[in-house]
């Protein structure tokens, strides 16, 4: 089965062709990141405009790179949420129009299901598994007992971990997006600054606003006292605490459900410190993290998730399919 998939939930216009939920034949990602850098974050209206500009060319390149024509496509999978609504609607309507023009079944797929299934590209998922989903908008622990079955065990009470990275980077004037910048700086520094222990009183939930406020207050106080701030050490201290919290809660979930596999998903899965800590702490269980190119938003992962959705439910969406800025993983 050949799947054409579309992802446009934020600032990347992406189309991919994949085969049988496994082999990626093409994965075109048109990134707008440079456009948004001037604004210190993604501007939704600019993102929507860019998606419209790029969408048909990205479709064309994805088909060409995979050496396929529309008549080869058996299924279309498109991100239906969560995400920026204006951006989502461009991809969804492009996908619906393509589906109608060529009479191909279409399915709307949850963005986070895509991030989790990005892991299946290189390592077959084994169940039960615990997925740690970490990005600018998400920090969640998800239990999967079989293909395309999701149970959210825990999530963040406040900020997503990627969001905390972005905010710390902004306070330190390091630029956008903050995650990769802090990760890089942290590797050149030492965790010398004291950080609070994060305790959410729940085994699976997360909280990042306390850590974030602690770091921002510390920076502001030092600036007021005109004390020099070692950016590298500050980055290393923050990152160590942030990642430790992810590891601790993941461990709880893995032990409690006796998971066979631990998968890390989402943009923050590209974080080098997180990857190293996962390898260090989870030696008794199979772990997988996507290749760097499949960590950030891309259509390939949506194609894999779409394939497994369709295998399980044999159900397609109608032409009135809509996008949703917020969406439960089970919908």
């Amino acid at each position: 089965m050949i799947v054409l998939s579309v992802e446009s939930s934020c600032d990347e216009t992406s189309v991919s062709i994949s085969q049988n939920g496994k082999t990626i034949l093409s994965n075109i990602v048109l990134s707008q990141i440079e456009l948004h850098q001037a604004f210190g974050g993604v501007v939704p209206e600019i993102a929507s405009r860019e998606h419209v500009k790029g969408i048909t060319a990205v479709f064309e390149k994805a088909l060409k790179d995979a050496d396929k024509t529309p008549s080869d496509i058996d299924l279309i999978a498109v991100t239906k949420g969560p995400g920026l609504i204006g951006s989502l609607l461009v991809g969804i309507n492009a996908a619906k129009a393509f589906a109608f023009a060529h009479q191909i079944p279409i399915v709307g797929i949850h963005h986070i299901a895509g991030h989790i299934y990005a892991n299946h590209i290189e390592n077959d998922l084994e169940f039960p598994l615990i997925a740690l989903v970490v990005s600018g908008g998400h920090t969640e622990l998800v239990l999967m007992k079989e293909h395309y079955s999701f149970e959210t065990l825990g999530q963040t009470y406040d900020d997503a971990v990627g969001e905390a990275y972005d905010k710390i980077a902004r306070v330190l004037d390091l630029g956008y997006p903050g995650g990769p910048i802090i990760d890089k700086l942290a590797h050149e520094g030492q965790p010398t600054y004291p950080m609070p222990n994060i305790d959410t009183s729940s085994r699976y939930d997360f909280s990042y606003s306390g850590l974030k406020s602690h770091v921002i207050n510390m920076i502001n106080t030092m600036r007021m006292k005109k004390e020099p701030i070692n950016h590298r050490n500050m980055a290393a201290s923050f990152q160590k605490a942030a990642v430790k919290h992810l590891i601790t809660q993941s461990k709880h979930a893995i032990e409690d459900v006796d998971a066979k596999m631990f998968v890390v998903a989402g943009g923050v899965a590209a974080n080098k410190h997180l990857r190293a800590e996962v390898n260090k702490h989870f030696k008794d269980i199979k772990t997988t993290m996507p290749a760097f190119k499949y960590c950030t938003d891309n259509a390939a992962m949506m194609g894999i998730a779409g394939y497994f959705y369709y295998q399980k439910y044999q159900r397609q969406d109608a032409m009135d399919m809509n996008g949703f800025s917020r969406l439960d993983l089970r919908e």
């Binding site: 001037a38 604004f39 501007v43 209206e45 600019i46 929507s48 405009r49 419209v52 500009k53 969408i55 048909t56 060319a57 479709f59 064309e60 529309p70 609504i85 204006g86 609607l89 461009v90 969804i92 309507n93 492009a94 619906k96 129009a97 393509f98 109608f100 023009a101 060529h102 109608a318 032409m319 009135d320 399919m321 809509n322 996008g323």
Partner: protein
């Protein structure tokens, strides 16, 4: 007799959804209905329904025509994306038309102000004329203060809603054949707020 071109026309730049199939100047099916800010949900099912009624498929269409704004940003993008996708993936010509010109075609006045509210006293507007059985543009579409424009120009009909008369558009020189489908974007007439703020420092 010369074969008449078949057109699929889409406009989603206003609160109304407009989808029509024409054979030459003859309308085969028209839907013009008020939306609830939900063109994303209604456009494709409406297109599906229209093709069912005329017992044709998209393949039978010769030209894809789309209203390209100005108007509601989110709304106009829905129609433009669908039209681009049809034209590109079935290798058909894409013709664009001002959404205000489409609106003006609903009137038959000598000086027609076609406008859409753009909030804070502003409007997207253009001045058009019905003249010798066709539609002409007198003043280019713009984003401007509505009251000031109206007080400075002769206008005998104002229109902000009305079912387009595509036959009239066909005889005008307002239809634009796009040389490259990939590059087609809505006419926004305004930079985004973030860009304006950045410019103003």
């Amino acid at each position: 007799m010369k074969k008449q071109s078949k057109y699929l026309i889409i406009d989603t730049a206003t609160p109304y959804l407009y989808v029509a199939i024409y054979e030459g100047k003859k309308p085969l099916e028209i839907v013009y209905q008020q939306g609830k800010n939900n063109h994303s949900v209604t456009l494709m099912p409406t297109i599906e329904k229209l093709f069912d009624r005329v017992k044709m498929s998209l393949e039978d269409i010769d030209d894809i025509v789309v209203g390209i704004g100005p108007g509601s940003y989110t709304g106009v993008r829905i129609g433009v994306v669908v039209a681009k996708m049809f034209a590109w993936s079935l290798d058909k010509p894409l013709l664009t038309i001002s959404s205000l010109a489409l609106l003006a075609s609903a009137s038959k006045g000598p000086r027609i102000l076609a406008y859409q509210d753009a909030r804070r006293g502003n409007a997207f507007l253009g001045l058009y004329a019905y003249h010798q059985q066709t539609l002409k543009r007198l003043i280019d579409d713009q984003h401007t203060a509505y009251d000031a424009f109206v007080s400075q120009h002769d206008i005998d009909d104002e229109i902000s809603e009305g079912q387009p008369d595509f036959a009239l558009i066909l005889t005008s020189d307002l239809l634009h054949r796009e040389p490259s489908v990939h590059h087609v974007s809505p006419i926004y007439l305004r930079k985004t707020e973030a860009e304006r703020n950045l410019q103003n420092g």
